[in-house]
C-alpha cells in the first residue's frame, strides 16, 4: 500500500500562446472528490482570457482534492487538484 498522489499542475498545460497571461479560471470541473479517472480523461475546462482548454488527468486514480472552485481564479503555476494513485 503506497500513499502516492499526483498533482494536476496548471503549468504543464499552459499553452505557449498564452505566455503573456498569468491568471485563468476553472470554468468547469468534470470530476468531484472521489471520482475515479483514467490518465488522459478531461477532468476540467479552464479559460485563459477568452481561450478555453481541457485539462487531462495526468494519472489514473481517484480525485482526492480539488484545490480551485468552479468559476474560481488561479495563477499560472498553481496546482488545480490531486489524484490519489493508491492501488
Amino acid at each position: 500500500m503506497s500513499d502516492e498522489t499526483v498533482a494536476v499542475e496548471s503549468e504543464t498545460i499552459w499553452p505557449a500562446d498564452s505566455d503573456d497571461v498569468e491568471e485563468a479560471i476553472v470554468s468547469n470541473w468534470f470530476v468531484r472528490e472521489g471520482t475515479t479517472v483514467t490518465e488522459g480523461d478531461p477532468i476540467a475546462e479552464i479559460q485563459i482570457e477568452k481561450v478555453s482548454l481541457d485539462v487531462p488527468a495526468p494519472a489514473t486514480g481517484e480525485i482526492c482534492e480539488l484545490l480551485v472552485d468552479e468559476q474560481g481564479e488561479f495563477e499560472r503555476g498553481d496546482t488545480l487538484a490531486r489524484i490519489s494513485t493508491d492501488q
Binding site: 485563468a24 479560471i25 470554468s27 479559460q47 485563459i48 482570457e49 477568452k50 481561450v51 468559476q71 481564479e73
Partner: protein, 348 residues
C-alpha cells in the same frame, strides 16, 4: 470637392467613434477579468464594436440632415455618432441607465434616437425594409429626405436585404444601402458567404446603380455617397454602395477569433482609416495643431459622455412593464406577477 469644414467634421466623427470603442472595450471588460462572464460588469450582454469601420459612417453621414433616416445593424456606434445621435444618452443606454436613449430597454444593438431619425435592429438585414419605408414616407409627403440602411457583407444573402433592393428599385425610392464589408460574418470569411467578390454587384439584378469603394477612405466614400444621395434627393431612386472596412475587435467582445488567421487581424490593424484621414487633412493644408485639437476635443467628448452615463440612475424595476404600447388598451395588463392576471386559483 470636400470643404475643409467637412473634412474636419468627418475626422472628428471618426476619432470620436474610434476612441469611443476603445473606451467602451475597457469599461466592458471591467468585472469580466480574468473570468469572462458576459453578464458581469458595468456593461452586460453582447457588445459589437465597430473600430475600423469609421470611414463608412463618416463619408455617408456627412451628406445627411437630421430629417434623413438611418437604420443600423448590431454594430451601430460609429454610424450613430456620425448621424448626430446624442452621445451622452446613447452611452447611458449602453450602460443600461434610465436616462438612456431607450430608458435602458434597448441596449447597444437597439438604439433609437427619433430626434435624428436613427434606429437600430439586432437581426441581420432587418433594418433594410424599415429604411425603404422611411423613404416611401418621404416620397409620399413630397419631401426630399432620404433613407440609408447599413448592413454587413454577411447580410447580403438575406431575404430582407434582397427584397428591399427590389422594392426600393421598383418604387424608385430615395434609399442608399451601405454594405460595410469587414471581410467576416462572425467566423465566416466573405468568400464562403458569396461567390460575388463585389457585394455591390447585387445591384445589377435590380437595375440599380451599384458601386464599391475598395479601401476605407472616408473621402472616397464621401464622393460615392454624395452622388448616390444627390440622385435620391432628386427623385432618381436607390443606390447600393459597398465600402471595404476592417474588423479590429472581433465579432463581439469575448470572441477569441480562433478561426481568424493572425495575418488577417494584423492587416486589419495596419490599414487604418484614421491615419489615412489624418494625412488627407494634412495634404489639404490643415495644420497639426488643428488636427490635435479635434482629436483632443473628441476624446474629451467621449470621456464626458461616459462619466455622465455612469453617473445616471438605473431604471426602477417596475419600468420594465411600461412602453409595451403607446396607447395601452383599457384593462390590459402585462401580467407581471401571479395574482395580477385573472386567477385560476379562485382564492384571490
Amino acid at each position: 470637392m470636400i470643404s475643409d469644414t467637412e473634412l474636419q467634421e468627418m475626422y472628428g466623427w471618426m476619432v470620436t467613434a474610434r476612441y469611443y470603442e476603445e473606451r467602451l472595450q475597457e469599461e466592458y471588460l471591467e468585472g469580466k477579468q480574468p473570468a469572462f462572464d458576459i453578464s458581469a460588469g458595468p456593461i452586460p450582454g453582447e457588445l459589437h464594436l465597430a473600430a475600423g469601420q469609421e470611414a463608412a459612417a463618416a463619408g455617408v453621414c456627412s451628406h445627411l440632415r437630421d430629417a434623413d433616416t438611418v437604420t443600423a445593424p448590431h454594430r451601430p456606434h460609429h454610424v450613430a455618432i456620425a448621424k448626430g445621435v446624442d452621445l451622452k444618452r446613447m452611452t447611458a443606454e449602453i450602460f443600461g441607465r434610465r436616462t438612456g436613449l431607450c430608458k435602458g430597454k434597448g441596449g447597444h444593438m437597439h438604439l433609437f434616437d427619433s430626434t435624428v431619425n436613427f434606429a437600430g435592429s439586432g437581426i441581420i438585414a432587418e433594418g433594410c425594409p424599415p429604411a425603404v419605408g422611411a423613404a416611401l414616407a418621404a416620397e409620399k409627403r413630397g419631401e426630399d429626405n432620404v433613407a440609408v440602411a447599413y448592413l454587413g457583407e454577411g447580410a447580403i444573402s438575406q431575404g430582407g436585404f434582397l427584397e428591399s433592393l427590389n422594392l426600393a428599385s421598383v418604387q424608385n425610392l430615395p434609399v442608399l444601402f451601405v454594405i460595410e464589408d469587414n471581410d467576416w460574418a462572425i467566423s465566416m470569411p466573405k468568400e464562403r458567404v458569396t461567390d460575388v467578390g463585389n457585394g455591390s454587384q447585387r445591384a445589377d439584378g435590380f437595375d440599380m446603380p451599384g458601386k464599391r469603394v475598395d479601401y476605407d477612405d472616408a473621402c472616397a466614400v464621401y464622393e460615392a455617397a454624395g452622388e448616390a444621395i444627390g440622385r435620391a434627393r432628386d427623385g432618381n431612386g436607390p443606390t447600393l454602395l459597398e465600402v471595404q472596412v476592417h474588423r479590429r475587435m472581433g465579432h463581439f467582445m469575448g470572441d477569441a477569433e480562433g478561426y481568424r488567421p493572425e495575418a488577417d487581424s494584423e492587416r486589419a490593424k495596419q490599414r487604418d482609416s484614421i491615419e489615412r484621414m489624418e494625412s488627407t487633412l494634412q495634404k489639404a493644408g490643415i495644420d497639426d495643431d488643428t488636427i490635435d485639437d479635434i482629436r483632443d476635443r473628441s476624446h474629451q467628448r467621449v470621456e464626458d459622455a461616459i462619466e455622465w452615463a455612469k453617473d445616471q440612475p438605473e431604471p426602477d424595476p417596475d419600468e420594465a412593464y411600461n412602453d409595451v404600447f403607446t396607447n395601452p388598451p383599457a384593462g390590459w395588463t402585462p401580467n407581471t406577477k401571479p395574482g395580477q392576471t385573472e386567477s385560476a386559483g379562485g382564492d384571490d
